[in-house]
Amino acid sequence: MRRDFLVGQIPLITLIVLGVVIAVLTPRFLSPLNLSNVLVQAAVITVIAMGMTFVIIGGGFDLSVGSVVALSGCVCAMVMMEAGIAAGVAAGVAVGALVGLANGLIVTVLKVNPFITTLGTMVLVRGVVFLLTGSQQVPIDQSLPQPFIDFGIERLLGIHYLVWVPVALLFALSWVLARTPYGRSVYATGGNREAAYFSGIRVDRVVASTYVWCGALAGVAGVMLASRLQSGQPTAGEFYELTAIAAVVLGGAALHGGEGKLYKSVIGVFIMVILGNGLNLLNVDSYWQRVAIGAVIILAAAADRLRARRG
């Protein structure tokens, strides 16, 4: 029991050790400016990683979220210039949910492997973004409405609004996963699809719904990023899918499904963001940073396999 508990806390211990090591190596890490940077950077990825956690618990996988971030940011900005802030935000989130629904239907109805499905939509959606925007930022020579821009800059209780979004989502979505019958059915479907089916769970709907969550949350992240960048950027969100997947795995979710917790994925996000931030502060060459982050992803996956074997 104690041993299981300790194994479950490995991500948190890793995060604390990483934080302490970086703080010792470079005092600038703990400066208020840097810490608030880390929080804002983590905010966008956290929202994506939470959606990814739904999909991965359900036994799936989603590579399309980075492209969805760009799509939703651009659609949000376009609609906002025509129809106002509320319509823009709603459109950004809705377009993300729509891509998620498409992913979910392809995976459950056409039975295409999730990796291939979302690899396809990742490339396809990115193409659509460039077609839609003419590969220009949105809007080109105007600016987005001021309140939307303020949302990306201003703070509440000393903390950026952008950070409060994932905080609120974390509480709400953790409830959904842990306390509702729907949440139970997501874990059961990911844990053993056949057994869930024989227990009367409509597994195809459950799986499809996880992709809708993931797409919608990537849409939210896209809107947040547009607010921060004060525009919709067609190139935004590249490699976000990999960071998010790595964060979920670092947080201890099993890639074969049925396991995982949102708050642990958030810990995983902070490991990724603080690692990147620390390497930046230490002036590590950006190519070496990629090598380090790639190695961390492989280590996390290897740890997942080791746990599965011991299981």
Partner: protein, 495 residues
Amino acid sequence: MPTPVLAAEDLSKRFIAIKALDHVSFELAAGEVHALVGENGAGKSTLIKVFGGIHRPDSGRVLVDGAPVELHSPADAYAKGIAVIGQELRVVPALSVAENVMLGHLPTRPLVPGLAATACLRLDRARMRAAAAAALGRLNLAFDLDQRVDQLTFAERQSVAIARALSRNARVLVLDEPTAALEEREVQSLFAVIEALKAAGVAILYVSHRLDEIVAIADRCTVMRDGRVVADLARGAFSAAELARHMTGRDVAEERAGAAAAPGEVLLEAALGGDVRLHAREVVGLAGLLGSGTTELLRRLFGAAGGARLQMRGRALVTRHPADSIAAGIGMVPNERILGLVLDQTVRDNVVLPNLARFGAWWRMDDAAATRVVRELLEALDVRPPDPSAVVRRLSGGNQQKVILAKWLAARIDVLLMDEPTQGIDVAAKAQIHRLMREFAGRGGAVLFASSELDEIVGQSDGVLAMRRQAISARMARGAGLTEQAVRDAITYQR
């Protein structure tokens, strides 16, 4: 007495809190069929795994031909002539029979005549086929050597695996539950193969839950309980009842369904390959050989294999998905435990799964109520430990099967469909499951259970439906000529 081929001396093995083997000594002689029986968790699997090189004992020795050996890996065991044939057969589906028999020591010849370098060898097909035919011939088996193994039945693949062990000069063959997936006819062919192995001087360690088989084939029988050897009996000194008594440490009165209570109103009616009609307070056995359609019939009734039209309490409905049947009051225990349980979740989560709507509202589960109900069920079903937060994977097979039953007892269902509900579990758990089936019927429910064991069908049923070639071939009622022979005649193909 000659030196035993394989022996264990004072073996002990402990897993964290459990003493899996407690000073076990054991001897296996050449040309002998030595059965090993015991309830789930008695230590049989651990002992086999020590012989197979998978587990290392904490203390004690393994001897081959009287000389102590250290078995560090399955390859070590194989090299000493010990081959374990488990329920998962190590055959390569895409290769031919001959290739599978000879796998691991395929005969080769030089690529170019005269050139003897090891890197320039090619497969010697002629010798491979000859050697494979010889190994199969010693077992009196005649297979098409070029047939791909994925086209064979399970029983045939099992024979290929045995032939491979023989071709590598295995002198000890460990058969772990070899008949679990076999039809009765195939069991007889397996016994013929075993006789041939005996004649060839191979020692056979035969592990099975089916005590009647052991009485039929074993020369000697070792009974294990709680990690210890509690009896070592020679042929003639054991009967199925005697073995069951040693296994459980008490007399298991093989409970039989009494005189059929008057059946109640019709609960379920369907026309699937013949009329199916289940009454309240009735246990109906579904007899049929593997492939006769019993599994398909149960799954269609449950909505897990295409839609089925049926009537529940006179109300017509179509079941397209298990959710439809569950809502109508039908539950199902599938033929494999992996289809019934999310192994890495807790007992409570598993029991709650088909009853999500019952415990709480859509936005909030009532975990306290679920825990209370599940604990009561576990105690009623004698699941050990009766702990709702135990992870299902850690339970024994019999306890896992009871958890699957608990899923449906927690639900408000009237009809329970069960596919091979006692397959691979020990006699005590089996008797408990039989009792639970009757209790469920006694409370006004109906049970339809499929089994390949005829004594179970005849012993537990108020009525029997026999299936042959995807259709119901006969209907029998208790007291009206319901015998094993009558059921056997109804399910086997007429020549």
